[in-house]
Amino acid sequence: MAVAERLRRPEPVNAPAPAAPELTVEGLSKGYTGGSEPVLQSVGFSIQAGERVALLGANGSGKSTLLRCCLRLVEPDAGAIQLFGSDVRSLPSRQLRSLRSRVGFIFQRHNLVGRLSVLSNVIHGAIGHARHPALWCQAMASGHWRERAFRCLEEVGLSEYAARRADRLSGGQSQRVAIARTLMQQPRLVFADEPAASLDPTAGHEMMTLFTRLVRSHGMTLVFASHDLEHARCYADRIIALQAGRVVLDRPVQAVDFQGLDGLYRQEAG
């Protein structure tokens, strides 16, 4: 915390002209087969380009499920999802792929390909754009991609580890590789599921600052799930909070009473 306190809150990002929202979710519901209660219940919100949104909620409140549903990595049960103006739920697979290639996704469990090298994992970030077998692993990729991936690794401070196998990393290192993979992707929108959970304090702040820089300079949009209220306060423009699968709070960060957020985490078991 002490560390965090010394970082200034970044200036608000210039909001773009109020065009169509980047992401609109309406009436989204999802229940896993086997689980008794639905995990998400008519969730709805809408996010503008260039916004940085923090998704808060207790353990098991449905944050990861929500992010997954937006890209149809998990098939929602009901509801409508508009992403970049396309209706995600009715998209044929080719268009869905091209849509996904423009959305970065940082998973809570990182989901690296363990037996490949760190560099190969980062190169995968470009696979949605180039759709070329050369991107399957670093040994086959052209020099151009390898260098770009290497620069992304430098960005997260892992360039020394480029040749290391991805399952021989520490928890924070593998988190960083997942972030580098997303940087490689140069996405228009990033879903990040607790992107700083395994990072040390400095790295966490640097990472969030990096994202903020991208949002500002490339007009990228960022939605991140987090348990770190400090991060939410410093790096989000807007807070959406889930409780037992429902949106219970959705307002600009300035209007959020962080002291009062405790209730969010109190009501729920699990």
């Binding site: 960005e155 360039s159 020394e160 480029a162 990096l210």
Partner: protein, 268 residues
């Protein structure tokens, strides 16, 4: 993060790390062997294509399937089924400890590892015929000898694949069990087995299916079985019954496979 980046040493890693000259030579050798083998086997697509119409003739001889021997086929099938169940069951049971001994990450001692590996390999290397003869002169003609022969067959196959599944399993959960002070057996039963169960089910049911089809082993011990029935139909050029028997075996194999798939789906 740029502050770190400037300090970060390192440059683009080589495309093929750590292969070295020896590794490269090995790859080259493998490629040469494959090409040499392919070249020597007189592959020819035209020959293959030209011959295809001929196949029609053979298949024509098989249709329509004859059903005159259905009762006898059914009876043999049941007999085989019983022996296969017993043989595979015993084989899988014995495979489990052998697999543990011959899995690199679980074996208590390298000597045991090599011993168990050797034993399993031996089960496979000694041909069925010899095993069958050995068991027949040991316990006499009859189902017991058949069951033993199928058991050895199963061990040679299952123990090997069980061991491999165990080696591949994620080592996180077993590590957790070790950290709890669990013994080897506890660790295997509560972490390794759950992780490898789907693969073991697939392997075991494959072994069962293999046992049911296996003609050599059972034929020798005078145990008959559907495989022998099939062989003798082929020997008699009785192709319409051949196709019937193939269809029966196919149905059985598909049933076993569906069973395997549904068991696996539950636990995957």
């Amino acid at each position: 993060m740029s502050a770190r980046a400037s300090r970060a040493s390192g440059s683009l890693p080589p495309r093929l790390p750590g292969t070295g000259l020896l590794g490269f030579a090995a790859y080259l050798l493998a490629a040469v062997v494959v090409i040499w083998s392919l070249a020597d086997s007189e592959l020819s697509v035209t020959r293959l294509a030209n011959g295809v119409p001929e196949i029609g003739r053979l298949v024509g001889e098989m249709f329509p399937p004859a059903f005159d021997r259905m009762p006898s086929i059914g009876r043999t099938m049941l007999e085989t089924f019983q022996m296969a169940v017993a043989g595979t069951f015993l084989g899988v049971l014995l495979s489990l400890p052998l697999a543990v001994l011959s899995a690199r990450n679980l074996s208590p001692h390298p000597a045991l590892y090599y011993l168990a590996r050797g034993l399993i390999t031996f089960c496979r290397t000694v041909p069925d015929l010899i095993w069958a003869i050995i068991f027949v002169i040991t316990v006499g003609l009859g189902p017991f000898a058949g069951v033993l022969a199928l058991m050895v067959d199963t061990i040679g196959f299952c123990a090997r694949f069980f061991a491999e599944a165990m080696e591949e399993a994620d080592d996180g959960p077993p590590e957790a069990l070790r950290s709890l002070g669990a013994g080897r057996l506890d660790m295997i039963a509560s972490a390794v087995v759950p992780a490898t169960l789907p693969s073991m089910i697939a392997t075991s049911l494959f072994a069962f299916e293999k046992s049911t089809r296996s003609s050599v082993v059972l034929g020798l011990v005078g145990a008959g079985g559907i495989g022998i029935e099939l062989m003798s139909a082929v020997d008699m050029y009785d192709y319409r019954n051949v196709s019937t028997i193939i269809l029966c075996i196919f149905a059985m194999v598909v049933a076993v496979e569906r069973l395997s798939a549904s068991l696996r789906r539950r636990i995957l």
